[in-house]
Assembly symmetry: C2
Homo-oligomer: 527 residues x 2
């Protein structure tokens, strides 16, 4: 099967260069999607977008073979590598973007833009069609969106946003500063403005924030024929489901298009509508919505108010990426980073510094407690310097056991396997972790004892201190690691935010106390 | 809006208990979905499934108020807490599961089963309807599936699997041992067996493994009317899209049902079909497929062979949970766990031990190198015991900087922002991390110097060792942390698998070398 590739050719300018290249592509069975070119002094530059059955490397070789060794040919699949080639091509002639945007999907275009210097990128925003710009604003992170908003006048921005569906437009508006948002709302065309104002009442991370309001709605007394007619003539985002409502707009149920096709034209929708298996209020967290839809295999989830009146529909497409996003946030939090607000490529070094230093300083402050504890045992270390050699080993073991336990509990909480509110579950986790930690701790203590005996040339008391510390630390670290995420959830915080580095650091303090205390008693006591 | 709750009532048996309770519910505006009950000696036990506008706590109080203080009433939403109540009810009368399964979604039923003792659970598998059992087998982790397969005879299992769609049946079959799989395949009804055999050719984590083959397919010369007829009469999993093929089954394009509704009945499908924006071969990784569908906003992605012949369709529903699953795996890997093969609730303590100990032992082995390095400087520590106090501080800082860098790069790789194959990106990451680390390192070194001066009562050389170590370690840890995921990806490994604990440990060794080496030179040299 053919893969879409970006090919950038850089060769001495000569007549027929393009037709020679396209002729070759034709013979190779490569399908040309579009070709663009320009000359700078005596060099010609061609950009080809192709569907190629050949691998990029092979295609490069074949074209170089045709054009000669002084031609530089680079081919890469769309995505990060292709974006690099696109950016290189646009760098000299940004104006050609209008010939290119037709053939590129917005995510690929955005990838290329992000690889260009800021000033070129800002020029490009101004040239792009309203359609492309709208999609790009929808895909952009907050920093890029601010940059776009800063490069264009409000009319231009409003025109781009007006090309989006209402729920998409609201996504963009919600990321803009309050003042600009109001200004832009005033310039949106009327039906879109009204829908947007309605949706803006809900925070972006709730069911109300992700739902679609552009849905065909009919009454229970309407017929199948009317429903098919509405689907034919109306312009809705959801085109495969009819929402059926009763008195006062109360949700009765949903009818799918394939039900309509199988029913007789005169049948009433009220008889056909299936009561939805679930419905949510608009304030429900979008992560919970996503989890519910996946758990119960629901494609279209109605959003209703407290009185059961229909407000909108959340589609599986709306939430497909929510769980992946939330998990990516967890990975960042576990790694000791703040919630990422922008792409790595876009973040300045100062941005990165600012997002990383707070955690490091916090950990630093806590770790200074550890340093003070060890300092308190300075005389012990002076007499038995070898004690210091085991500090990293015991601390690392504690940290690892703690983060293993945290990861496992975060996962079980996230999958809804256990609940932070169930007393049964908390007791269960506590006992299960205690037993597992005892098993792991004994194993590690036994190995640690042997290892310490070797390293200390048979100092039994020192080796015993190491082994006992390992056992106690494993128990402590496991319980702390397993409990913190549950406590965090009960306090309404993200379990991942308080785990990771924090667990390690809290464990370090306990390790310092246990290890130095034990060593002082056992080893010094014996001498 | 009403929430679905499970209510378990335990009260002295008396006539009219149930009608008293349901009468109260009616007055409270609580909708009764089903009620079941039995008596053990002089106690009656009622299980109610209700849609309640009241919170669980309030409902408990109101029912207790009605039935008297000697009634124990517990209410909880479906999910982990509700499952606990269901399990408690089923424990004494497993046979009642058949009256219950009709009102429960399979995930809720499975949650309840997992909270029961193994012998009761195995009895329940035998009682469940084929439908429920089929769904439960689809949802179960590998350990539970093995338990189910071990509790029932092959005919019973085959009947349950036959209630599933072909791609679901294959999901289940693929998790069973080879021998049993063949046995079961032989007992499946004919069209399902043929489809399953076709799908079984592809690994479960590829496009071919997740695609649906139950799709309406027509030729380009067929008409809109024929397509609508096919949708009306056929029984397909995908009911909103017609696949249009040409000579030899080559994919021409897709037509959606709303296109059909708007077109004239006599129009040829070939004229209507939109060329799909993308198509994949069956071997492509399902994670890549999911990412592509989300990136390009594609709901139905065709799978074709090398010659472009249509094989099946991947729907957004098929892959909605793939990215979340992959991210959950990453979280586990970063926490130093193996890929989770079973639920936390289901895993025995020995399972947990086995999945956690390998990492811990590996880290242990590497950390013993650190211990040996520090032992080599035993005499230095003997003379300046305070050195030991800073070991946790510098190592933890290194570990945290390293895991921050790893998390960031894993995220950027996963989102396709940077590519491990692009030389530009690798250089870019290296330079950006070097600059960020220099900034972070200087900050931490400055604070560290001040802190060490205080703790050491003004020992400049010792404080300088600490500060210099912090700077060097930050640079080293950041580069190691950022590079390891890229190297892992290039070698075809999961970036998360080699990060987390591994980064910390490798950093520890470098820290030991740098810190002890610097201290020996600077501090001892000065004395």
């Amino acid at each position: 099967m053919a893969t879409r590739l970006v090919v950038l050719v850089d060769a001495p300018d000569r007549p027929g260069l393009l037709s020679e290249t396209t002729g070759l592509l034709h013979r190779l069975g490569v399908n040309l999607v579009t070709s663009l070119g320009y000359a700078v002094e005596d060099r010609a530059r061609l950009l080809l977008i192709v569907d190629s059955p050949l691998e990029p490397g092979e295609l490069e070789e074949r074209i170089t073979g045709q054009l000669g060794e002084d031609a530089e040919v680079r081919a890469a699949p769309l995505g990060p590598q292709g974006a690099e080639l696109l950016a290189e091509f646009l760098l000299d002639k940004p104006g050609l973007v209008n010939l290119l945007e037709v053939y590129l999907e917005p995510p690929d275009l955005l990838d290329a833009l992000l690889r260009l210097p800021g000033d070129v990128r800002r020029r490009l925003y101004r040239i792009l069609s309203a359609q492309s710009l709208g999609r790009i604003m929808l895909l952009a992170d907050e920093a890029t969106l601010r940059e776009i908003a800063g490069s264009l006048d409000p009319d231009h921005l409003a025109k781009a946003i007006a090309t989006l569906d209402p729920d998409e437009a609201v996504d963009v508006l919600q990321k803009l500063p309050e003042k600009l948002r109001r200004l832009l709302l005033g310039r949106l065309p009327d039906p879109l403005r009204r829908e947007a104002l309605q949706l803006l009442r809900y925070p972006p991370d709730t069911a109300g924030g992700v739902m679609t309001t552009s849905v065909p709605v009919l009454r229970a007394s309407d017929t199948v024929q009317q429903a098919l007619q509405l689907l034919r003539s109306g312009d809705y985002d959801v085109r495969d489901t009819i929402v059926v409502v009763g008195d006062g707009g109360r949700l009765v149920g949903l009818v799918t298009v394939d039900q309509l096709l199988r029913a007789s034209p005169g049948e009433r929708l009220g008889r056909l509508a299936a009561r939805p298996r679930a419905a949510v209020e608009p304030e429900v967290d979008r992560e919970e919505v996503a989890r519910m839809m996946l758990r119960y295999d629901i494609n279209r989830l109605p959003v209703v108010d407290r009185e059961g009146r229909f407000l909108g529909l959340v589609t599986i497409e709306d939430v497909a990426d929510v769980l992946a996003e939330e998990a990516a946030e967890d990975i960042a939090l576990l790694g000791g980073l703040e919630k990422p607000r922008e792409r790595y490529l876009k973040a300045s070094i100062l941005d990165l510094f600012k997002s990383r230093i707070p955690w490091l300083l916090l950990i630093y402050a806590i770790e200074s407690v550890t340093a003070n504890i060890i300092k308190g045992y300075e005389d012990v270390i002076q007499r038995i310097a070898l004690l210091a050699a085991f500090i990293p080993l015991v601390m690392d073991t504690g940290g690892n056991v703690g983060s293993q336990a945290s990861s496992m509990i975060i996962r079980a909480l996230a999958l809804g396997e256990i609940s932070e509110r169930s007393r049964h579950d908390i007791v269960y986790v506590f006992l299960k972790e205690l037993a597992t930690a005892a098993l792991i701790g004994s194993t590690l203590a036994a190995i640690g004892f042997g290892f310490a005996m070797v390293l200390s040339d048979g100092d039994v008391m020192l080796s015993l201190s190491v082994a006992l510390t390992l056992l106690i630390v494993t128990l402590l670290a496991d319980i702390i690691g397993a409990t913190l995420p549950i406590v965090a959830r009960r306090l309404g915080a993200d379990p991942a935010a308080v785990s990771g580095p924090l667990v390690t650091t809290i464990v370090d303090i306990s390790v310092a106390l246990v290890y130095m205390g034990l060593a002082a008693h056992l080893v010094l006591g014996a001498r």
